[in-house]
């Protein structure tokens, strides 16, 4: 069963074809990695799925719902949550508050009850804070919870962004280079975290340059080059694909 179905997606910026004829399915509860050389259009694809900018033609269906034409926040409210290539934690807020901000779409108590300090609303806040602390603990950020988020090193900010996305209880999680800026230990922790996320029934898509990470965690790998999809399949198949090796892995090996 497919959660995400992308058909013939196309986008051009002026004369530059950033994405053309991209079609693939993402099975529910699977982990799909999106790889390709710089400028291949990986982040663009995420931007098109979440409609940060509109695609020219094609279709993006999430659980049968067409996402094209929906606003980014409406797409998020369907459960499609993304992170960004450069960590975008909210400055001016603490680590804990950043994590809590992810929960916004699922708050049960509305604005009025927040103004009125209704007991139920306060309880929800406390429960959420506990949940956020538990998740922060998972990536070793619990003791930093009251620090300003922007004081964290870049790698930790990226992890915080993943936690913030998790607080939103995504059904489809789009992670844009989560391992960039992470050291080896942190990368290993991230791999474990990604597996745990997947085990919770979340469908995950990752843009990633770290090949060993991709090959160990992905169920499906999609390879982009210059906006085109040149291969897709399980990691072992991709590793053996001559075209991929020429376009991407070959360059790295050389």
């Amino acid at each position: 069963m497919s959660t995400l179905e992308i058909r013939n997606l196309k986008k051009s910026f002026g004369g530059l074809l950033a994405t053309q004829d991209v079609s693939f399915n993402v099975a529910s509860h699977s982990l799909t990695a999106l790889i390709g050389p710089n400028g291949a259009g990986k982040t663009t694809l995420f931007n098109l799925i979440t409609n940060l900018f509109p695609s020219d033609s094609g279709s993006v269906k999430f659980d049968g719902v067409e996402l094209r034409g929906l606003s980014p926040s409406a797409i998020a409210r369907l459960g499609v949550i993304r992170t960004f290539q450069t960590a975008r934690v909210f400055p001016g807020m603490t680590v804990l508050e950043n994590a809590l901000a992810g929960r916004h779409r699922l708050l049960r108590h509305g604005i009025a009850s927040q103004f009125l300090w209704l007991p139920g609303q306060r309880r929800e806040e406390r429960q959420l804070a506990e949940r956020a602390m538990a998740l922060l603990d998972l990536v070793g950020l619990a003791d930093q919870a009251q620090r300003p988020a922007t004081d964290l090193p870049m790698g930790a900010q990226k992890l915080l962004e993943v936690i913030r996305a998790l607080m939103a209880q995504p059904r489809l999680l789009l992670l844009d280079e989560p391992a960039a800026g992470l050291n080896d230990t942190e990368t290993a922790e991230l791999a474990a975290l990604l597996r745990a996320i997947q085990a919770c029934g979340v469908t995950v898509m990752v843009v990633e340059h770290n090949m060993s990470l991709v090959m160990t965690i992905a169920d499906q790998v999609i390879v982009l080059e210059a906006g085109r999809m040149i291969a897709s399949g399980p990691p072992a198949e991709i590793q053996a694909n001559q075209r991929v090796i020429a376009a991407y892995l070959g360059q790295e090996a050389a």
Partner: protein, 619 residues
């Protein structure tokens, strides 16, 4: 036909001035990305310095005018190097906007101290006698205005297109980072652009001065007109600025002649809103579309301070205790200053939610105060309503106005909302003067009874004080509840990164709208109380100056802190009461404090107070 040509010429004349103002805005905006609200102040300065040199020191006009331009440019250069340019690398664009509002107030205060508050008129350059061309009278000063405008436009165009300096300026405008890497001294050029805009402002002020009466606050009106012109035309393009200026001038003159002078402001506001809806970037577009999934360099360095809950409760309890004792200790004069502080604080809490948390600048909160104050006072005095429903009605009016304004502007990015609120405040200003059978016109509305709730007369200083105090505590606690919950987090997220907020499912426009609506209702409530406290309401009590004063109080006290604005309001309200002779320096000081705090104390006085309290640590 002749009269139409006459009016048309008048429009071109007024439009030339607006075009000159708009050019100054556009120049600074293109090089720095900031809208400089102090632009209009340079006009007043240039004109008044010319007046002093020409009329009091008896210098010939050309010498007086040139000297005035030089002096104004120097003043602009000083303000630019001390405040504006250092701010560019440290502050967000919206905080820069507030800082320029501070500079505007600062210059106004300076004019008030040096020249006083009376109006001045410069003698026309070429005598009073108009020329007669066919059947049309042409004011000679009008020829000067149009001629000078054309000269400045040509000169500026030549400088930008043909000289190396102009090339460097354009490089700064298009890509400051790349310009810096290729060896362009960006801060110096930014300063140059700021001072040059000051010079253009001075020239505009000097040529227009003989045609209008100048007062200390004329600069603000010129700023607003220029701002509207540039928003209509397109701020990122010079032809747009010029076209916008001319269009605004024509609409203004034709509107005044064929509709009504009261509604000429309404017409320009209507034109502005129309442009904002149809073509938000202005009639003439320029500029590059930025990638929105990459954040602009983070110029946000606001510190996060969370007081430990224990310390917060202790301080709050102590403060409340002191506040409860106040009427027994203070003189009546001080007590009423304190009541006014608290009344303004009600509006400031809302404004802090809007500006400090959501990061949406409103320069028209006093407009909502006016809506609330006039509505409730009218209902009570003329319709014999009870106070409570009358106040409620005022708040509903403000809510309706806020929703309409927000519906139009909140979808727009950047500083257009600030612009729209400024225009809104101005519109309310002209309405309070214009609808004189309801509002009492410029002389104000008299005989407003004191506050009476449930048959209880609250019109003694102590009773009014406790009523307002109780209200403040309720409002503060409930707003604080929302700010430390999901709504507050959503607003803060929107402030710093609306795109990332949207990607988490935050309804950006909806949240901003709620914040705006609540801030408008709190302002209306404050406006009603203000009227009851004084038993009187006049346009200048709730006009554009009040809006700027509220911004000053907020920034001086510390925005985004809820408590901070109380300090700001107290400082600006109570100090002049304590030291009467200092009252004339009030505008100057609040402007200097606003600009200085925006730059050096991002959390204002509250930030200082916070350092004395223990921080919250751990979980």
């Amino acid at each position: 036909m002749n009269s139409f040509i006459q009016i048309f010429l008048g429009g071109v004349l007024q439009g030339s001035i607006y075009a000159l103002l708009a050019l100054g805005f556009s120049l600074v905006f293109r090089v720095t990305g900031v809208i400089n609200l102090a632009q209009g102040a340079f006009c007043t300065l240039g004109a008044l310095i010319t007046y002093s040199l020409q009329v009091e020191a008896h210098l010939p006009v050309p010498l007086a005018a040139s000297l005035a331009v030089v002096i104004t440019t120097l003043l602009a250069g000083i303000a630019g190097s001390v405040l504006f340019v250092p701010g560019l690398t440290r502050l967000t664009n919206s905080n820069m906007l507030m800082m320029t509002a501070g500079m505007l107030t600062l210059f106004e205060g300076l004019v008030l101290v040096v020249w006083g508050s009376q109006p001045y008129a410069l003698p026309p350059f070429s005598g009073e006698r108009p020329w007669r061309l066919g059947g049309i009278l042409v004011q000679t000063q009008g020829v000067w205005v149009i001629g000078v405008a054309i000269l400045v436009i040509i000169g500026l165009g030549w400088m930008l297109m043909k000289t190396r300096l102009g090339q460097a300026l354009r490089a700064c405008a298009e890509n400051p980072m790349a310009a810096r890497l290729t060896g362009v001294d960006v801060p110096r050029l930014q300063l140059f652009a700021f001072a040059l805009a000051g010079a253009i402002g001075a020239v505009a002020g000097i040529v227009v001065a003989p045609a209008i009466a100048l007062e200390f606050d004329t600069g603000r009106l010129l700023t607003i007109s220029g701002f509207i012109a540039v928003a209509i035309g397109g701020i990122a393009s010079f032809p747009g600025a010029i076209a916008g200026g001319l269009l605004l001038g024509l609409v203004n003159q034709l509107g005044t002649a064929y509709v009504s002078s009261l509604f000429s402001n309404a017409l320009s506001l209507g034109l502005l809103l129309l442009v904002l809806i149809v073509r938000p970037a202005g009639l003439i577009r320029a500029g590059v579309v930025r990638r929105s999934d990459v954040r602009d360099e983070a110029r946000v360095w606001q510190h996060v301070t969370r007081i430990s809950a224990k310390a917060a409760w202790r301080v709050a309890a102590l403060a409340l205790l002191v506040a409860l004792c106040a009427p027994y200790v203070l003189s009546n004069g001080l007590l009423s200053a304190l009541i006014i502080t608290l009344i303004l604080y009600v509006a400031l809490i809302g404004q802090d939610m809007l500006m400090g948390y959501a990061g949406q600048i409103s320069l028209g909160q006093a407009g909502f105060m006016a809506l609330g104050g006039y509505t409730s006072s009218y209902l009570i005095t003329a319709q014999e309503w009870q106070a409570l429903p009358a106040i409620g009605m005022g708040m509903l009016f403000a809510l309706a106005a806020a929703l309409v304004l927000a519906g139009v502007t909140l979808r727009l990015r950047g500083l257009y909302m600030a612009l729209a609120t400024l225009a809104f405040g101005l519109l309310i200003d002209s309405c309070t003067v214009g609808f004189d059978d309801i509002t009492g016109g410029p002389s104000g509305m008299v005989g407003i009874p004191g506050l009476e709730l449930f048959g209880l007369d609250l019109d003694t200083p102590a009773r009014m004080y406790y009523t307002v105090l109780a209200l403040v505590v309720i409002v503060l606690i409930s707003v604080a509840g929302a700010m430390r919950s999901g709504f507050g987090r959503a607003l803060q997220a929107i402030r710093t990164d609306p795109l990332a907020a949207a990607a988490l499912g935050v309804n950006v426009v909806g949240c901003k709208m709620v914040a705006f609506a609540i801030s408008a209702m709190l302002a209306a409530l404050s406006g009603s109380l203000y009227a009851f406290q004084f038993h009187f309401l006049a346009p200048e009590m709730v006009g554009a100056p009040r809006s700027l004063e509220l911004v000053s109080m907020l920034v001086i006290g510390g925005e985004g802190t809820l408590i901070g604005p109380l300090f700001g309001a107290a400082l600006i309200t109570i100090l002049p009461t304590l030291f009467q002779p200092l009252a004339i320096y009030k505008t100057l000081a609040s402007g200097a404090l606003l600009a200085g705090c925006a730059l050096y104390l991002p959390q204002g006085m509250f930030g200082i107070a916070l350092r004395l309290l223990p921080r919250r640590t751990g979980a």
